[in-house]
């Protein structure tokens, strides 16, 4: 069977070779890179612009963006027909292609996030090493920990106030450089689509900017969701452990800290949400008004065939409803959680409507293609480009986040930042 035939349903006249070649994994790719970029920008709001209220979530979102980073590449590898040759993009990049720079941008960004995290955690790492070294008797786990943390410290054991101050400055600089790189990483994903002149829906210079704004929205939303969930777990733990260790923060303390952080973060979310919607609507209005050759077919895709996905799921439930939820006074944790989950769904639908919607019509403008997401993974291809492949991509960052936080805890670490 031809690649794409399993999930493409053709209507009227479609060129014989046309199928939905870019399916669910290519929806996941901008969604995941968007989350990476958004999480990083959120952490930078504190490190660069000194938004003090975001201190608690800044460290959290920085580590989360590290956990998301490898996952941004996963959908691409799952999508490639020859994944074993994926490395060629780095080895023999063909620079007229928008994809060719991916390896370079991605590696730069990865190194930047890793080094920023190193500076943020250096004090913690060194203190842990000193503490473990001081112990007379070390268990096997502690010995392994000592080796790991000694390696992570890279021999920079200086904890003098000057050295710590230097760390702080390094974090500021890296976070500052990181913002344009994070935006570039994602704007670049938008460029990959926006520059395809053969596709009437994708080709717009606004695409990279739209992608950046919705990326930041989704990144912040995911950080809020994960933050709330983590805090709820911490509350449960603190309730249980309160009797044995009275030193832990009380449930009430955690609750008030949580709502404060969530309220302020939501404000930034709304700001970027407004920007994202404005740009998307501008694009839509412009297309409607100019009504070029492709408009006839685009109109039937946007206003008829994909109406539910675009106007109900994306704009309605994904943008308008959370907007009302966030702007009503007296935000509660439960409402914030509902709102941010809807925002995440909305951004996902936006990616879906761009990637799948862009292939919903034939390049002949005389027919349509309908996408049927493969559910049951009957073979490798149906797994990779189906529901289960997508679920694998979605769950991986949480597993990675859990693993990373075993080494670099995001809560209860005192630092100078």
């Amino acid at each position: 069977m031809v690649h794409g035939e399993a999930w493409t349903l053709k209507e009227f006249f479609v060129y014989p070779n046309e199928y939905i070649y870019w399916s669910i994994q290519i929806v996941m790719y901008p969604f995941m890179t968007g989350l990476v970029a958004g999480a990083f920008v959120l952490s930078s709001l504190y490190h660069v612009f000194g938004v003090k209220q975001l201190k608690d979530i800044a460290r959290f979102s920085l580590v989360f963006s590290l956990a998301l980073l490898p996952v941004a590449m996963m959908p691409l590898m799952l999508h490639l027909q020859q994944p074993q040759r994926g490395i060629y993009v780095m080895m023999t990049p063909h620079f007229t292609s928008a994809i060719a720079a991916f390896g370079i941008v991605f590696t730069t960004y990865g190194l930047l996030v890793a080094s920023e995290i190193w500076f943020v955690y250096r004090q913690f790492i060194v203190e842990t090493v000193l503490e473990l070294r001081g112990k007379q008797q070390r268990s096997t786990v502690e010995s392994a920990q000592l080796t790991l943390y000694s390696l992570l410290s890279m021999g920079a054991m200086d904890l003098s106030p000057e050295a710590l101050h230097k760390d702080e400055r390094a974090v500021g600089i890296l976070a500052g450089i990181g913002i344009p790189i994070a935006c570039f990483l994602h704007g670049y994903a938008g460029f990959i689509f926006g520059s395809v002149k053969a596709n009437a829906l994708w080709m717009t210079p606004l695409m990279p900017v739209i992608f950046i704004c919705s990326a930041i929205v989704s990144g912040i939303a995911l950080c809020i969701v994960t933050y709330i969930v983590t805090m709820e777990i911490r509350k449960l733990i603190s309730k249980r452990k309160k009797k044995s260790t009275p030193r832990l923060p009380s449930t009430e303390e955690l609750k008030s800290a949580e709502i404060q952080v969530v309220t302020i973060t939501v404000k930034y979310l709304v700001m970027f949400l407004v920007l994202a919607i404005t740009l998307e609507l501008l694009d839509l209005i412009f297309r409607t008004y100019t009504a070029v050759k492709s408009w006839d077919i685009l109109r039937s895709v946007i206003y008829e065939r994909d109406f539910f996905k675009i106007f109900i799921l994306q704009y309605g439930l994904g943008n308008l409803v959370p907007f009302i939820i966030f702007l009503r006074p007296g935000l509660t944790i439960r409402r914030a959680l509902l709102g941010t989950l809807l925002v995440l769904m909305g951004v996902f639908m936006m990616r879906w409507n761009v990637v799948i919607g862009g292939q919903a019509f034939s390049a002949s403008f005389s027919g349509f293609m309908d996408y049927h997401l493969p559910i049951w993974p009957g073979n490798v291809e149906l797994f990779k480009e189906g529901l289960f492949g997508a679920l694998t991509v979605i769950t991986t960052p949480f597993v990675l986040f859990y693993l990373i936080t075993r080494v670099l805890p995001v809560f209860g670490v005192k630092d100078s930042h």
């Binding site: 690649h3 209507e11 006249f13 070779n17 490639l80 020859q82 023999t92 063909h94 007229t96 292609s97």
Partner: protein, 261 residues
């Protein structure tokens, strides 16, 4: 002290070791690559389709599938023929069942999931067949977007795919406005019309050109003023497909109509 035998051995190792990085310099010599791409060659292959002559028999599609080992039953094809039926009330119906591999065996028009549509002969204003293939563009978007350079243009203008280097990202498939590219069902790499480059370079004609009983398909060298194809292209009213994309397609159509997509 080094004796002569050792000296010779070491010299050979050093020389051998140096050849590897130096050969890399040779491979990536940008000047040579540039000369190969833009060199003023004597040949630039172009294609000419005479829409008036095509009857939609599908021999060209058959010949192409056999010649180029395109999986016979797979619903992809390097070249295909489209049937256009324009009704008196201005409706344009198009189809190309199996890329017209078996020709058009019914008067009913294939509307994919909407089944076959019957149009009464008295309702038809005009009808014609349009063969399609890769346009071997002068400014090929597929070559531009390939992230690893697996798709390239030869000095004589033919766009080819290196099957050993294609990573299968599908960007070229997306980048082609003519829908000529697809993934090879067995090799899982990008696949397209090569203009039968293996035949052209041996002095033969493309398989579809050879197979066409009506002379609707012709291949020629635009840099040769004496080539009959060149003469037609330069002196008669020819058209190209989707000029607005700036791809500078090199498949020319005689007698094409505004309905052609």
């Amino acid at each position: 002290m080094m004796n002569r035998r050792e000296f010779c051995k070491k010299t050979m190792i050093v020389a051998g070791g140096l050849i590897i990085p130096l050969s890399a310099l040779e491979v990536f010599n940008p000047k040579r690559l540039h000369a190969e791409k833009d060199g003023e060659g004597k040949v630039r292959w172009v294609f000419l389709v005479d829409v008036h002559k095509c009857v939609g028999c599908g021999f060209c599609v058959k010949a192409c599938k056999i010649e180029n080992d395109v999986t016979w039953d797979a619903n992809v094809t390097r070249t295909w023929v489209e049937r256009y039926v324009v009704t008196k009330d201005g409706q344009t119906l198009i189809d190309s069942p199996k890329g017209a591999r078996d020709g058009f065996v019914t008067q009913k028009i294939d509307q994919a999931s909407h089944g076959l549509k019957e149009v009464k002969p008295e309702e038809i204003a005009k009808g014609f067949f349009v063969p399609k293939l890769c346009n071997h563009c002068e400014n090929p978007p597929c070559v531009q977007v390939c992230p690893v350079g697996a798709t390239y243009q030869t000095g004589d203008g033919v766009v080819l795919v290196d099957r050993t280097w294609c990573i299968g990202c599908g960007y070229c498939v997306m980048g082609c406005p003519y829908g000529v590219r697809y993934f090879h069902p067995e090799l899982h790499v990008a696949e397209k019309c090569t203009l039968c480059y293996h035949r052209l370079s041996q002095g033969m004609l493309s398989a579809c050109v050879d197979a066409c009983p009506f002379g609707a398909r012709r291949v020629g060298n635009i840099r040769d003023p004496e080539d009959p194809v060149t003469k037609i292209i330069t002196t008669e009213q020819v058209n190209v497909l989707k000029e607005e994309f700036g791809t500078k397609p090199q498949v020319f159509y005689l007698g094409s109509s505004r309905e052609v997509k």
